[in-house]
């Protein structure tokens, strides 16, 4: 898809859904960020005890990186090209070529090496997505979806960011839209996406995924508070980690719930299914409960409120109950009609 139209930057809540929304919209298929997130069935929860990040279990509030791009592409049958590179110089040359052809290109990169990120946000997180829409001298013109305005990035930093090593290494991943589907049947795509997401949240066969994973997190907070060896130092670290993964990385656990709520609201209107509106309200309540957890947990970690593990565990259980209620409404609303 060659485009001569100027690219319009729009800020998003989350990098991957924002990139996917911007790429399809620019190619001529307008897709809001919540719609991209929902169609990709990207809402999730997982607490994986055997994958550790500096001694703390992996916790995720959405599907793994790459799932939104793949999910939207498959659900709407969008033709996309995607490339990874063994040699950084080749990867940079390919980016320049695509830009010279007038393409708007999505890239996966490390946050740490992007000079336009504030110092305090620069961690070694390799699965950040951004768009490059042009070149100007030695700089790339960047539309980073989580920023208010477009930014610039010099070539050397871009190369470092694209080819940073470590967990989830991007290997220079770049992608762009090549072909749009002849027609988009949202009346079919939306219920199918909701059913796929229901399977992950309510029916995953693993105890640490979905609603079961949330309840497991609730129980483990109480368990840690009863363990004299882990109560005093590990528990606050663990809670801080849960909150940090919830609020800072991506758009946060509560943020994803609100985004899914926004998707359901939009979906209700576009396919005329009022039950989705009701589910949207339930999902919003779940998001509010997650926020309450973050607030109380961060106060307890800072010692501004005495540590009360049963109360925190109770809030998580409420999150699980509220999301369970939303998914039950969705299961019925998205049944094969």
């Amino acid at each position: 898809m060659r485009q001569t139209l100027p690219f319009t930057h729009r800020q998003s809540a989350h990098c991957e859904s924002g990139v996917m929304s911007a790429l399809t919209t620019h190619a001529g298929l307008p897709l809001s960020e919540p719609m991209a997130f929902g169609l990709a069935a990207a809402l999730a929860f997982a607490l994986i005890p055997f994958v550790k990040l500096s001694g703390l279990p992996l916790i995720a509030y959405r599907m793994p990186p790459g799932a939104i791009i793949r999910g939207v592409r498959k659900r709407l049958d969008i033709g996309m090209r995607r490339f990874t590179f063994g040699d950084p110089e080749q990867g940079m040359a390919a980016l320049d070529r695509a830009l010279d052809e007038g393409r708007v290109v999505g890239l996966q990169s490390s946050v740490f090496w992007l000079p336009y990120f504030p110092e305090d946000m620069r961690f070694h997180f390799n699965a950040h997505n951004l768009i490059v829409y042009g070149r100007d001298g030695g700089d790339y013109l960047v539309s980073d979806p989580v920023f208010e305005e477009t930014v610039r990035c010099d070539r050397a930093s871009m190369k470092k960011a694209r080819f940073a090593k470590g967990a989830l290494a991007a290997k220079g991943l770049m992608y762009f839209v090549e072909r749009l589907p002849a027609e988009v049947e949202l009346g079919r795509a939306i219920p199918a996406a909701i059913r796929a997401n229901h399977r992950v949240m309510a029916k995953a066969p693993l105890p640490f995924v979905g609603l079961r994973g949330m309840r497991r997190l609730g129980r483990s907070i109480v368990k840690l508070s009863r363990d004299p060896r882990r109560r005093d130092t590990y528990l606050p670290r663990f809670l801080g980690h849960v909150v940090r993964m919830q609020e800072e990385i991506g758009t946060g656990g509560a943020g994803f719930r609100f985004m899914y709520g926004a998707f359901l609201k939009e979906a209700a209107a576009s396919i005329g299914e009022p039950a989705l509106k009701e589910a949207s309200a339930a999902m919003t309540e779940a998001g509010d409960t997650w926020r309450l957890f973050a607030l109380r947990a961060s106060k307890m970690c800072k010692g501004r409120e005495p540590m009360n593990a049963p109360a925190l565990s109770d809030i998580i259980m409420q999150c699980a109950d509220r999301e369970a209620a939303a998914w039950e409404l969705l299961r019925i609303a998205a049944r094969h009609r």
Partner: protein, 134 residues
């Protein structure tokens, strides 16, 4: 979350920037609202940054005292751990740990040093010295 409740705590970790959130407005529809940050997020990010800063200061003291090489200090400056530096340079962790010994580090060839320079984004001349803010 109500659109009016979208936090505007102007947290330092945002560096003056704003993020976007989805929230519900008065008539119940979802709107996108910019946020200057939330205290709860600032606490969580802050404690992660504190941990990093502790490691940096500890390595700085030991590097100044000569009990570790500047390499370990520069690694902490770039918020890396041994595993990440190993993956970035292609050197094994034990080999890098050996380079943390000042005597071994002082004898490193320009080739090895340039690999570290590349991985850390720090010039080789700086690597040979000990600079607090590389």
């Amino acid at each position: 979350m109500d659109a009016n409740d979208v936090p505007q705590d102007r947290i330092p970790t945002y560096g003056g920037r704003r993020k976007l959130f989805y929230a519900v407005d008065r008539d119940g529809s979802y709107v996108a609202v910019r946020s200057s940050g939330w205290e709860a997020e600032a606490v969580a990010t802050g404690s992660a940054l504190e941990e990093i800063e502790c490691l940096r200061q500890d390595a700085w003291r030991r590097a100044q005292a000569g009990t570790t090489s500047p390499l370990e200090y520069y690694m902490t400056c770039r918020r890396m751990d041994l595993a990440l530096l190993a993956q970035t340079t292609g050197y094994s962790p034990w080999r890098i740990r050996r380079h943390f010994r000042p005597a071994v580090y002082a004898r490193l060839s320009d080739r090895v040093l340039s690999r570290y320079a590349d991985a850390l984004g720090i010039e080789s001349v700086t690597l040979r010295a000990l600079v607090e803010r590389p």
